[in-house]
């Protein structure tokens, strides 16, 4: 497969920029050392598929504010160390705020759950809503973000589409994104094969979607999609680094369970302040690679991160830092 990739990359000749959207792909690519066997003219960049990374600073500040007000907050572990404007959930937990780290939304019994993630985790948050747990939702949808990246012309030649998200939403939804795409699984051989198939589409300039991950069907998982539509409605969403993307987020339908409504008095005074030294926005758009960020490895390291890309297990910067 590596020989075939090398051949076709040579035929294409120029630099080819492939974006792998999904954080788990970024992680698998690093874990197996895939970049070490790709030809030099293929540039693999990570996209905004790390849900922790694209959560806006304002939303993190809001959750910190809830915790500081004494509200019992639950979250996935990754969110704990992401820097807000002044501190992080981890910092306020050490000072005594009641914050629980959970591996699954199933573990949440009361208080407010920080609903982070894409279409993969949204069904589980929906199940928590069904159990009458209040949720602060920052869930986001992948296809609108991909459409934005194509329309803004960041020079992306093709996409490796997410695996788990596609299991939920199916592969048909990607058809109206004008770019070559291959839905990939996570085993290294499968990823290499997906890269090869994508290069074929790029060479022939075919804006098609090829499904290379067997658990993914055209329509996706109907039960999960139903759960999502029962408990969430579409809304505009603020993506760190990409700005506001219309109809790209999921808002809790039931206002009695929507933490943004329940605690609107507390939250209306929260004003985020972005750190000018942090370049996560450019990383998430594939404009900068981690090593090209001036703060990478110096002012920004996993122990003292400036932004989410260095915190999250699926963050592009953290992955480069730990694997290269």
């Amino acid at each position: 497969m590596i020989t075939k990739i090398n051949e076709i990359a040579r035929e294409i000749g120029r630099e080819i920029k492939i974006m792998e959207v999904c954080g788990t792909h970024t992680s698998a690519i690093a874990r197996y050392g895939i970049k070490s066997v790709l030809p030099k003219n293929i540039r693999l960049v990570s996209g905004p598929g790390c849900p922790v990374c694209v959560t806006s600073q304002h939303d993190i500040d809001c959750m910190i504010e809830l915790a500081l007000q004494g509200i019992h907050v639950s979250t996935y572990g990754d969110m704990m160390r992401v820097p807000g404007s002044k501190s992080s959930l981890d910092d306020v937990r050490m000072k005594g705020a009641k914050i629980d780290v959970v591996y699954s939304a199933d573990e949440v019994k009361d208080g407010v759950f920080f609903g982070v993630g894409f279409e993969t985790t949204a069904p589980m948050t929906a199940a928590a809503l069904k159990r009458q747990v209040a949720v602060y939702s920052v869930h986001k949808l992948i296809p609108p973000a991909m459409k934005l990246l194509v329309s803004e012309k960041y020079g992306i030649d093709g996409f490796i589409n997410p695996g788990h998200v596609s299991v939920i939403i199916g592969s048909d939804v990607y058809k109206d994104i004008a770019a070559p795409q291959v839905v990939s699984g996570f085993e290294p051989e499968n990823i290499l094969e997906s890269i090869y198939k994508l290069l074929l589409l790029i060479k022939e300039r075919r804006n098609e979607v090829v499904n290379n991950y067997s658990p993914v069907s055209n329509e996706g998982n109907e039960l999960a999609k139903r759960l999502i539509s029962e408990h969430f409605k579409l809304c505009d969403s603020e993506w760190r680094g990409l700005g506001k993307i219309p109809q790209s987020g999921l808002e809790v339908k039931d206002s009695k369970l929507n933490a943004k409504t329940i605690y609107s008095d507390v939250l209306k005074n929260v004003k985020a302040k972005e750190n000018p030294a942090c370049n996560c926005g450019d990383i998430l758009r594939g404009i900068l690679e981690p090593r090209e960020c001036r703060a990478f490895g110096k002012g920004c390291i996993p122990e003292r991160p400036l932004g989410p890309c260095m915190v999250s297990g699926e963050g592009a910067c953290r992955i480069v830092f730990e694997n290269d």
Partner: protein, 310 residues
């Protein structure tokens, strides 16, 4: 402020320990202060403190880890353990029968290994000031052959004495209510002494796992280490749990195996069932992993990893 990463066996802990050691000033004639145990002539001395959640798990309990951990630290230094001290701090309200169960577990290990607990201490804190129980053991041993972390040489093979990451997997499986996985908690004394003449450096990969252990050997010996992923033994149930929880298998703790470097791998693999050659030592620096398709660096683990494992 001290945070959980300072106790995880990764980079932050290393740096804090360096800072503490600098303030404690020179250990005089004692050597190996930054190794698994310190030694003066042929007296070897080490200590360790243990917290674990849950306290009782398949394959052992906090008592068993507490004594095996110290016996192992002495053994991987190349010292025959002679005696242990036992310090216990309990939270008010801790059940006496649980305490005695833990003590019985300690006693069983001591009898089997021929290493007695000869001195100890017991304290109680108020409810809420400690999470159930904390155990400290210190151990004294007699040096047989010094196995410093600085002893690895280019050309050496790297051997692991059994499947990795088993203890972390066992505790996580217990914490999350998955099907029980047995911890590898146990003494490596007899196994390591059966092959000690062929070993030139050894470590037990507890907190921080094989990643931390190999990075230490690489740094202290000034060598490059390359591991072949396909050769690393790991039980499939342990791998499944760790993969599912997104936990790096190389940073996950073991409590009953050791890694070592040797110029005579065939002799060791022949004598130690379950052991495997997993890589080699070369000139250079850093620890690298050859995967099925490429190569990546294995860094010293950072961050919280898995708290309350040992």
């Amino acid at each position: 402020m001290i945070n959980l990463s300072h106790g995880s066996g990764g980079k932050e802990m290393d740096e804090l320990i360096k800072e503490i050691r600098a303030r404690l000033k020179s250990p005089g004639e004692w050597k190996g202060a930054d190794d698994d145990a310190a030694y003066l002539g042929d007296i070897v001395f080490t200590t360790d403190s243990f917290i674990a959640t849950p306290l009782f798990f398949p394959g052992g309990d906090i008592g068993k880890i507490a004594v095996c951990g110290t016996i192992n630290d002495l053994s991987v230094m190349g010292a025959k353990p002679i005696a242990l001290s036992l310090g216990i701090v309990c939270e008010e309200g801790f059940l006496k029968e649980q305490l005695l169960k833990i003590v019985d577990s300690i006693s069983k290990v001591c009898e089997r290994e021929g290493v007695p607990v000869v001195t100890g201490d017991f304290k109680v804190t108020e409810k809420g000031k400690l999470d159930k129980i904390m155990i400290n053991t210190a151990g004294v041993g007699k040096m047989v052959k010094p196995l410093a972390n600085s002893g690895a040489k280019p050309g050496d093979a790297i051997i692991v004495s059994g499947p990795i990451a088993q203890h972390s997997a066992a505790l996580l499986a217990a914490r999350f209510g998955y099907s029980p996985i047995e911890s590898d908690c146990g003494s490596v004394k007899d196994r390591i002494f059966s092959v000690i003449q062929d070993i030139n450096s050894a470590k037990d990969p507890t907190r921080g796992g094989v990643a931390a252990a190999l990075n230490e050997i690489s740094e202290k010996s000034n060598v490059k280490i390359v591991i072949d992923e396909e050769s690393v033994p790991i039980n499939s149930d342990a791998k499944a749990v760790l993969d599912m929880l997104g936990v790096d298998i190389y940073s996950s703790a073991s409590e009953g195996i050791f890694v070592c470097t040797t110029q005579n791998p065939e002799a060791i693999v022949r004598k130690l069932s379950g052991s495997a050659v997993i890589g080699k030592v070369e000139s250079g620096s850093g620890v690298f992993l050859k995967t099925r398709v490429g190569v990546r660096k294995i860094h010293k683990p950072t961050g919280k990893l898995i708290p309350r494992i040992c």
